[in-house]
Symmetry: D4
Subunit: 249 residues, 8 copies
């Protein structure tokens, strides 16, 4: 409800074109829909050029299905994240066009073609094989939000030549997402090589004094390279989302 | 040293235009300068359209001056961060054109005009009065990197109407930097209002179970809003830097 | 055993109306009942206008049943919290009038009508769908303690308009319980809008650097809004209890 | 801006009694005042029957004085917390009627008589001599907000008879604030004795594995007694504030 | 190998009664027995008047049985701690006289009568019903080490009268073991009532900000009462052991 | 107030030898003295054969002097701990017989001869030179409580022969206090050598990942030796106190 | 690609013996092989005289088999660590010569004889029976890297004579690996006895305030003995690897 | 006291060449010297080819001087670490030949020529200018222990070309010490480039979520490169010591 809209509404009230009751209602009504356990905010997702998103962890198949049905009425594209494989068959039965990406545990339902909104390529760089599921979640998210996405896997800093030999890919990207567990050093090296914004994603890969990703998280926050910002541990979705917003600035 | 450059160099060796020794040296020489205690990387800063930057904390006046003199030879712009006020007079004596911003504890020496490289406005939003020094560091950095910067202060979430009444400013920005201490909730609220990338900066403002900014840091990493990435506690410089890179994508 | 009671007792001893032995016993006997593994404090719960409460986690069906039987002899109302669903059928067989609320995992047995003791409405505000079980535990508790309870769900700060559009409900409540996981920012926003006491309940909803609710807990303790106090992570029962005491002050 | 107000405003616009411009301004103007580094929210404090409050830590005398002058224009009562003794003389020179309480490090300026708004007594219970400054901050705050306040000092649990012999005071209070450092056990004992809401305040008193109050904070959050909620470490002001709101419910 | 023994040995070498080789061997041989995966130290346990003890957690039935057989050859009494119930039947088959205490998860095999070595009673005080298994482990241990043991259960600080009414038991004990989870306040109250050494045992009972017993552990280490020392979380065995040593001083 | 006392009092009331008012007062009066900021519990200290103790840290000279004067009226022995050297001269002026032990920062005033109450020797074992101040605090405390005390310094585990060559001292002690910083391993080694109770005291000596004594504290709590209990970091007083109680069992 | 190699290559380009294209390719090609999900670095392992190693945790049998097949093509020796027993049969079917060590959960496939590269013996010292699996992983690794390995088990510091009686073994080793859980004190004692480098390995053995090995890790980092360095919790492989590199210096 | 020595001693006793008393004394006397507050272990340091070392932090000039004098009697070389500059003049007055290295805060007194005991070069690699003091402490230590030492400064991973261009130095070293603060990534990169043992030293350089070096420490412990072991934060001395032992294996 921006000022122009407000002024216009008030003018119509003044002119008698809109009743007080109608204006009162308009001023109160906001673009979300209450389905009991959730307030679905259709406009927001469209406004951001994003799919409507459901965080699948901890929700039952029935709950996810109910929310998807409501979203599907408007033919919005849908992205379900953190969806365990055993919940997929009943959802695919209800939405036969939905596709499941097993590695990233994402389900996508694409009812509208996704236009390319991003200005350049988003490159997802991944330190180790075990970090790939998080990287894939970022990739699926960025593609659903209208981006060209490329990737570079298993280029951790312990074998720095693997990264250095593919520097061209790094230089060509507009936005970079760097995913790493263990000591989380990769974003620092990548951030020192490129002039583009780097979104760092710590993963929970590791053991012992890794503390479920805290080590990687802290390392990324303390990076000696500039041009890096960090999202939560294992938050591939969040990285894909902000990278998409950056790619449209 | 990109592939084209490498190919060109090898071709010249083949053609006898460049000697093996010269090529060997070129392949080894890299664009930094060793002044004993530090390797100054002139090209990197220019390449990123950034000033040459010195992290002032823990350095003596003599060290800072030595590094500034080397940088100044190339007439590059210089930004010194975390510079205590008592170190300023001798540095200003050596560099009379340098300017000191007391609140952000930054010293700037602008030898070249700074072109506007950013596509839109970077807006710095700040929760409380005590968070202003960190916000100012972000502003100085973003300006030195060629951006239009605007700001909004003392709009913490405990008085949400203060923020809501200035929503237009939020909507107009291309990139947002949100600075907050204590419970660190402001980026979540701002992130829910805008469709632009938000860089969240936790500050060490608070007491007791605040733990020097950890509470705000954790809150920002766990934000329920999408489109947010986080930098280290009190890292105004880092936020200004990545926001500048984003504003040029 | 207040002073008047004591004085009266001593006077009766002086007058020979009560023997030394009887007085000695009275002075030692206290209003609890030892059933071996537990000392049941019947008076306390009645005194507070509260149901007798059993923390169900980690107790066997046999133990819970034994305690319930003892409580039921006095026809006190009973509330069992944190009761897993698989323990319900045998308990319902023993106490056919008992009701189980699956979401909050509470079992209630209401043998006496519950009078309304609270002066106004207790409003339970809940940030996300996943926080609802904790909110429901607070609601069941507050109702068992004689309060009118209302609620507002899925109004997290990332979509602040969802909260702002229901401000009237906030203004009408006498006491507010605000339940949130992830970054735990909702109590700060609510606390800034109302002039009533706010009991904040962090939940363990989240992942990564959420640390099982620590982030939300710390955020609530560091709230920049006044008028907020905090209970343990996921402690819906505790919030409902203190809110009920507040509502009778 | 409640619905009645909004409806009234819209009706006046409809009737031509209020111009569109005026309505637009009203809808945007909110009851705070921007003095550059701070947005002073005069109405909120009056609305809550609270003094206008300045968190003194980290502010210069000049800043505090500027804010006090603005507040004083409206003859609102003023409370400055966490004010170091060396900042007091210049402030007392500017505001000769201001009073400084050295133990609690609070400055109060009472321009309007404070009516008693609380329904009963607020009792502040304090475990050890070293916890008294925090207790005093709570007392000053509660008195400035219109409450009768009583207190009980040095009644820590290691000498439980000291507390038990003053039980009558505990029973008479309407709201209790319990302040304790070290192991933070006092709120649990007090909470078990009374039927009134208890606000627990952990202090940073202790050493070694006390961690600046974390031990007391955790102990209070995990209290086995019901009817307890907790504020931040050393937050006497916050405890006094919420206790005052509770005392008016 | 005390000095007298050493002197005697050397004298025998001097007198030719003991050969160099024999002396060399004696000087090296120490009173333990190597059975491959473990060095069993028979003498130590006898020396301390303690049973031979096996920490059962993480050992297979075969391993426990092998160690028990070796111990049983010398007819020493045996105590197995942290033994899951499913491992008991095969062990009882091998050692029909062994007894299993289900609550404390201990198995005892008493081949020699246990003389009373302790000077007085060890009293085990326990805050809540859920802490009983840890208390029972302490009781079994203290009994196996030759002590009279008494106990007091469910006397947590939230109902302080339950403890106060049994003060006589506290006064009569020579050594006290106080077991508590949640906020761990009970040892502070008990320590303030008695003049005897108190061994405090934190338990992992609790949830949320209890962190598996850390809260209780910290509270006990920070007790404002003197005369308290602390063992590891859930370490009933350790408490029983040191209490037994104390009871013989 | 034990049962016999109570019975006797009630009998006297019955017989008219004691009035109701007098009995009422007796039942309420408890053996402590309220001097405003502190409740001095004279009887407790005498009952425990302990000096009256003042924790000096954070108290002013005036406060300490006032408490000492009150204590001195009864000619009780006095121990002031954690007393900075600059506070000593004025206190010594007021109490010329008081003695200050600089290393342990304790002040003692011995008005009554201290009888030996302990059954054997308390041995204080200390890992490094920097741990001596904590060890000395334990020694002064144990001596003030009537014990023979011996000590063994600089016998840390990195030079195990230093400890092994003085094993006789270890074997002769009745109670052992083992003080260590850094990795805190000494109590485990000592605990494995003796059959007596060991009180372990972690110190804050160390740097880096020592965390002000947490490492030593954790190591002692996790000791693989039995017969060890732990007090707070740097708590020499607490160790001396409980060791004294143990030495009288 | 060392300088001599580079010079030789450039000289050949100059002489026309190598084409620009070939040189360009050589300069870019690096000694690893991309098999999709992993970049296998054959040369590195050979260069270090190490087997090719696969971290088995979290990989499927199919993934491990695919990587092994690629490695086996070059007849390199292979070491799989952290391999659960249920994955072994299918791998042994594919590689019948592979051997599984159940305790250390390692699989080894030795296609080439392993020459002894180490200068002396590596001794693995182990505190408790439960630490043996980690010790065994170190042993297998060190043997695969060409070392003579000896070991000493169950010599924890609580029975220091068990260690002291085998001092000769300690003195004879060239490099020592010391494995301990619980309080992690063993490396300090061993480090004080020998003049050789000690690699300390904390294990996750313990409970309560052990925090999954953090206590042992911190104790080892804070060792008062010199000559000790530490690897991650439970990282037997890492200890075996660096000990092997040390043994060849 | 090795077995051969012991056998020889016993034989002499048998032959009457050594008296029982003399043998008894020899068996008890151990090579350290008790000077009251410290047990100086002269032999150990000589045995390890190390200087006698004093940890200067927290010791007075008088204490350091007393220990140095005792050490100097045997003309052993002396190294004092963590010595603040203001303590140097009086020590240099007492020991005019002593030299102070201001950056590393070390004092060295070299009375005997230091033979080269190391087999190759120890290379100290340092991430940032602020890490140099820790690196210098390692260098001084390694030189005092008889090693050739080289170094490489300001080669942090954010400018990876600075490191890559000096790879030859890395390849030539026999042992590497890698010093880094902030995110602590440098050891991982170096460890991936060399086949030699790497000792990683985290420093406390950094701010915010660096936590005084914990981030760097954790990153190094979790390194994805093999061949790395870690010492305590800022422990340059410890790194120099173990690197020296390694260099002699």
């Amino acid at each position: 409800m921006n000022p122009e809209h407000l002024k216009s509404l008030l003018t119509k009230v003044q002119e008698g074109k809109v009743s007080v009751e109608k204006a009162l209602k308009d001023l109160k009504s906001l673009p979300f829909e209450d389905i009991g356990c959730a307030n679905i905010d259709h406009h927001r997702h469209l406004r951001q050029g994003a799919p409507e998103t459901i965080f699948g962890a901890g929700k039952t198949v029935a709950q996810i299905r109910a929310i998807m049905e409501k979203m599907n009425e408007k033919k919005n594209n849908i992205l379900v994240t953190r969806l365990e494989a055993d919940k997929v068959p009943p959802l695919r039965k209800a939405f036969p066009k939905a596709k499941y990406q097993a590695q990233s545990r994402t389900l996508t339902l694409t009812s509208r073609a996704i236009p390319i909104l991003g200005k350049g390529t988003i490159l997802v760089v991944c330190a180790g094989t075990s970090d790939i599921p998080v990287a894939e979640e970022a990739i699926v998210t960025a593609r659903m939000m209208g981006n060209e996405v490329d990737y570079l896997y298993d280029v951790g800093v312990a074998g720095i030549h693997r990264l250095m030999s593919r520097r061209e890919k790094l230089y060509e990207a507009h936005v970079l997402i760097v995913v790493a567990g263990m000591e989380g050093a990769l974003p620092s090296v990548v951030g020192g090589l490129v002039d583009r914004p780097v979104i760092a994603v710590p993963t929970s890969v590791g053991y012992g004094a890794n503390f479920g990703g805290i080590t990687a998280l802290l390392a990324m926050l303390n990076s000696c390279a500039s041009g890096i910002a960090v999202v939560n541990i294992d938050n591939g979705y969040g990285a894909g989302h902000i990278a998409s917003l950056i790619n449209r600035v």
